[in-house]
């Protein structure tokens, strides 16, 4: 299938800072593609280059067969963008925000009016249409931004950290809406530093760290490859972890000792748990779980996603 987005050695430099350091990736039509990484990994810079609102510093980038450098306006007319911050007009109503935005795309008022009805229904804000933005909750504002991004029926929908700062309930409502878009065949590009979000939504993702892509694949495949099996998490009273002197590491070839806890990767969690007790370790808390993308990131970079 013809790729929708193709990046080759894509680079972004701000002065001395290399924000994106020669990344390669391909997004195919209809898939939900994720950029997972901590703050400062370069995810937003990649999004802005794809969205033709930030010039590329090096490499090549093609989006919908267009060059963001030279075809910016045409390209942007076919993209939907949900930025990290809700830059809505706080003093205007939900309806006016959407109408105003639709006009930027040179759509007729009649066309936008019809579109607004559909979109308000879709983001479940029909009763809030005449409310001012400043009166809405964080989750509702986010849904308005999503409706706004869809006003021009985009071919690619780009979401930069769609659920950061929202409570769990609001996040699930949002995931449900995005999942429906995905079902309708809309290509979604999502950045996130939440592994649950990436696992829920993404068909395929790249893990970014310090401007580079450190791994690529489906969430399942990444876990299989980099952090298979299970994880036993141990939490010790403050100060104890530093005194253990290699005891954790001897329990398994794959361990991570973090500031507040230790992780042991294993194929058999039960055996590991009994080994912990047999070796005389007395953790305050111990739990076994399936490994996740968080563990993938940890294995690859030695750091956690959300510090």
């Amino acid at each position: 299938m013809e790729p929708l987005i193709q990046a080759t050695r894509l680079t972004k430099v701000f002065g001395d800072l290399v924000a994106v350091d020669g990344v390669d990736f391909v997004v195919t039509p209809g898939e939900t593609f994720g950029f997972l990484g901590p703050n400062g990994a370069g995810k937003t810079s990649v999004m802005r280059m794809i969205g033709a609102t930030s010039p590329i510093s090096g490499g090549e980038l093609s989006v919908l067969g267009l060059n963001p450098e030279t075809d910016g306006p045409l390209l942007r007319s076919r993209l939907g963008v949900v930025p990290q911050e809700n830059n809505l007009d706080a003093e205007l109503s939900v309806y006016d925000n959407l109408m105003m935005y639709g006009r930027y795309f040179d759509l007729s008022r009649t066309e936008i009016r019809m579109r607004i009805e559909e979109l308000l229904e879709f983001v479940q804000l029909t009763e809030k249409r005449n409310d001012k933005i400043q009166a809405l909750s964080g989750g509702m504002k986010r849904r308005v931004v999503i409706a706004r991004g869809l006003i021009n029926s985009p071919d690619i929908f780009i979401l930069d950290e769609p659920t950061t700062g929202l409570d769990p309930q609001a996040r699930h409502v949002l995931w449900d809406r995005l999942y429906r878009l995905k079902q309708q065949g809309v290509t979604l590009i999502i950045t996130t530093h939440y592994m649950d979000e990436a696992e829920q939504l993404c068909d395929r993702l790249v893990v970014m760290d310090k401007g580079r892509i450190v791994a690529e694949g489906s969430p399942r495949a990444l876990i299989e490859e980099h952090a298979p099996g299970e994880v036993v998490e141990l939490r010790f009273p403050v100060g104890v972890l530093e005194t253990l002197d290699g005891q954790i590491e001897r329990l398994s070839p794959r361990t991570e000792v973090l500031a507040d806890r230790a992780l042991i990767y294993t194929d058999d969690a039960e055996r590991t748990i009994s080994a912990v007790t047999t070796n005389g370790l007395e953790p305050e808390m111990m739990l076994a779980r399936r490994s996740s993308l968080e563990d993938v990131f940890l294995r690859l970079t030695g750091r956690t996603l959300v510090e």
């Binding site: 609102t53 910016g72 706080a90 930027y104």
Partner: protein, 258 residues
């Protein structure tokens, strides 16, 4: 393509204004009227009593009416160039959201300048009618004097916009008003002829856009002959509008599409 999309920005600003005009209506319309009463009628009667021929041969009220018209336009332009821009790039950051649409930097900027110039026009129009109500000048002359007021408003709008797009916080704005806008308001010939100023201050006053606008407005409204040839003043004001408008492009681009 440049014009239609900047008109979309204009349209958006008009939509916003429909919901926010109440906040600015007092300062825009009432303040100049208060100035006319306090300075023109109040202070003016004192001036006219003691200067047998009035100021430059006219009543003080007639002398300052075109001055206040232009001063108000100047302030409106500066206010729009400061707070409107700051809201777009720093507070609400709505300008960033516009750039995710087909609208580009130049269209965004042009749309902003067009709308804010329209704001200057409305404010000047109301004031011109106030001048007629005070019996200072006939309707036609008062309306024609809006021309120079518009030029000065747009010149200060451009200049203030070019200043504001370089700011990283709002802190520079009060300084800008304290050291540029308020002195310009007071010393550019609206309330007394700049020839009353010490030489070095007069040179500063003559360099301001407001001075040229006041001269032109006074010529139109009360038939006073300007110190500077009229078309030189017009060119000077147009140069401000275009020059500072162009100077705003690059910093705005750096800020919004890094």
């Amino acid at each position: 393509m440049a014009t239609p999309l900047s008109l979309r920005v204009f349209e958006a600003e008009a939509r916003i204004y429909r919901h926010t005009w109440r906040g600015s209506v007092i300062s825009s319309f009432l303040n100049p009227i208060l100035y006319m009463i306090a300075m023109g009628v109040g202070l003016g009667s004192l001036v006219d009593e003691n200067v047998s021929a009035g100021v430059d041969g006219v009543s003080y009220l007639a002398f300052i009416a075109p001055g206040i018209l232009v001063a108000t336009a100047m302030q409106t332009g500066a206010t729009e160039g400061a707070w409107k821009v700051l809201g777009g790039i720093l507070f609400d950051r709505t300008w960033e959201s516009r750039l995710a649409s087909p609208i580009g930097i130049k269209q965004l900027l042009l749309g902003h300048l067009l709308w804010s110039t329209a704001r200057v026009f409305f404010v000047s129009l109301v004031f011109a009618l106030v001048v007629v109500a005070f019996g200072v000048a006939p309707l036609v002359q008062s309306l024609l004097a809006i021309g120079p007021a518009l030029l000065v408003g747009a010149a200060m709008l451009s200049a203030t916009t070019a200043f504001t797009v370089r700011l990283k916080s709002y802190a520079g704005i009060p300084m800008f008003f304290r050291f540029i806008v308020i002195p310009m308001f007071l010393f550019s010939g609206a309330f007394f002829p700049v020839s009353f100023l010490p030489g070095w201050m007069e040179a500063f006053a003559v360099a301001t856009p407001m001075f040229h606008g006041v001269e032109l407005a006074r010529a139109i409204m009360i038939g006073q002959i300007p110190v500077v040839t009229w078309w030189i003043s017009v060119l000077y004001l147009v140069a401000w509008i275009i020059g500072f408008g162009v100077m705003a492009i690059a910093p705005l681009r750096r800020k919004l599409t890094p």
